[in-house]
Symmetry: C2
Subunit: 291 residues, 2 copies
Amino acid sequence: MVSSTQHFTEDRSVEAVLERNAACTDARLGEIMAVLVPHLHAIIKELRLTPEEWLAAIQFLTRAGQISSDRRQEFILLSDTLGVSMLVDAINNRKIDEVTPSTVLGPFYVNGAPNLPMGAMIAHHGRGEPLFVLGQVSDESGLPLAGVALDVWQTSEDGFYDTQDDSQPDMNLRGVFHTATDGRFWFRSIVPASYPIPSDGPVGDMLKALGRHPMRPAHIHFILRCAGFDTLTTHIFIDGDPYLDSDAVFGVKYSLIAPLRRPTVEEQRQHALPDGCQCLSLDFRLQREAL
Amino acid sequence: MVSSTQHFTEDRSVEAVLERNAACTDARLGEIMAVLVPHLHAIIKELRLTPEEWLAAIQFLTRAGQISSDRRQEFILLSDTLGVSMLVDAINNRKIDEVTPSTVLGPFYVNGAPNLPMGAMIAHHGRGEPLFVLGQVSDESGLPLAGVALDVWQTSEDGFYDTQDDSQPDMNLRGVFHTATDGRFWFRSIVPASYPIPSDGPVGDMLKALGRHPMRPAHIHFILRCAGFDTLTTHIFIDGDPYLDSDAVFGVKYSLIAPLRRPTVEEQRQHALPDGCQCLSLDFRLQREAL
Ligand SMILES: [Cu+2]
Ligand SMILES: [Fe+3]
Ligand SMILES: [Fe+3]
């Protein structure tokens, strides 16, 4: 009844599972299983996983699914904190050295932020340290790009996105700007804060058990869109943040770090910046779409 | 700010994640991560997983968590159908050839089934084909073992456990028997049926996409407990079942398959078996506990 090739044993556990997929008509799914199953079984064999540990893993995954909702995605946090999200980003955004690197999208992006005129203020909740953000977008050779859409979002001065915080109006600290003919952009905001990823669930427990903190260094998110160029999802990080070398989600890349600085006299006058306003400046270079 | 050893790149993605665990005080957890992270990252690199596939994986896992409940455990089904449960069983129950092999516990075990006198009937729902189950329990050298507890459970004639089926009384098709002084046991039941594992969730969708069916061949579950011996969790499978060589959870082992047969004249008389009753017989050998 049972042919000898199909009996499950420790030695041929992978073959036993994969030979069942002979009737699979989805070639990519077959490929995914052919890679997933051997690594998955190797993990269990190398660890000699006990039934108790297996059950703890089942319970961990179940809890992660059950704590997830419209506003909370624990499996994305798990992917982020295990470096999986950054790895998928790296593999799918292999770029030449001359252009700005990408980093994680994160769970706080909201589609449909308002188009704003250059220089507009994006903070509407009446708190925080004034910040002026500016830069220039160019192609890989430094040629300025006009009309590039910059979709920006960031936390408040106490580290919350509008979607996490009832005290902020809708679409607070979000907006879409477009570069001028010389590729430049500028807008007003407040200094964002470092913040913890949600840590009251199984991923938080995992980080605690690993001796890791849940913090991300302060940053401003950007998605840059321009016809003919690869869309760039990235951050500007603020230099000096204590979490720059231990970002819980591994998002930091050197060339994305910029210092807070005092405005130049020229900037101060041209943009009528308030007293004590700080500047954060980064230039972006986009990679031309492969034909 | 960011030391060169901590920047995340595709090439050193594993190191970037693992060096964060330096402060982990749970040695086993550190070991688990040191095995899990390299394999997990290798899966993603070998597949060159796309962002769309990554998102589909996030959604699959989330759905698995959310469909799970007190009565349904989708991550156990996932583990079962990927051969993980059988692998954990195999690793933790390495046995000498002379004893009966173990197989999966499955999700339908219920603690606290009633102790029953030898020969008792376990089917109380008034349907099904009469069955007489019998055998002998011994140690690895064939020496009979008295007083071994056999915790048994099985499906009805239409493939449902009592916990899945309102038409069955509580603890239907469940019971605990103890071997006689000669190591023998016997009880009355009905012939169980092959049945599908729950297939209306993400695991069912996965099986469908892989061209696999969700069926398990008909079987009776046993847990054998005896002081001084390893507890044995196993099945008796019914020979001739069409799913014996494609059990959805990889639970079949040759030596656990037994034929349905007519009772001998002696059995018929001794146990007053009804007309048309079938017999299913398997002897179990237990492995002595390692000292
Ligand atoms: Cu591997
Ligand atoms: Fe963020
Ligand atoms: Fe079963």
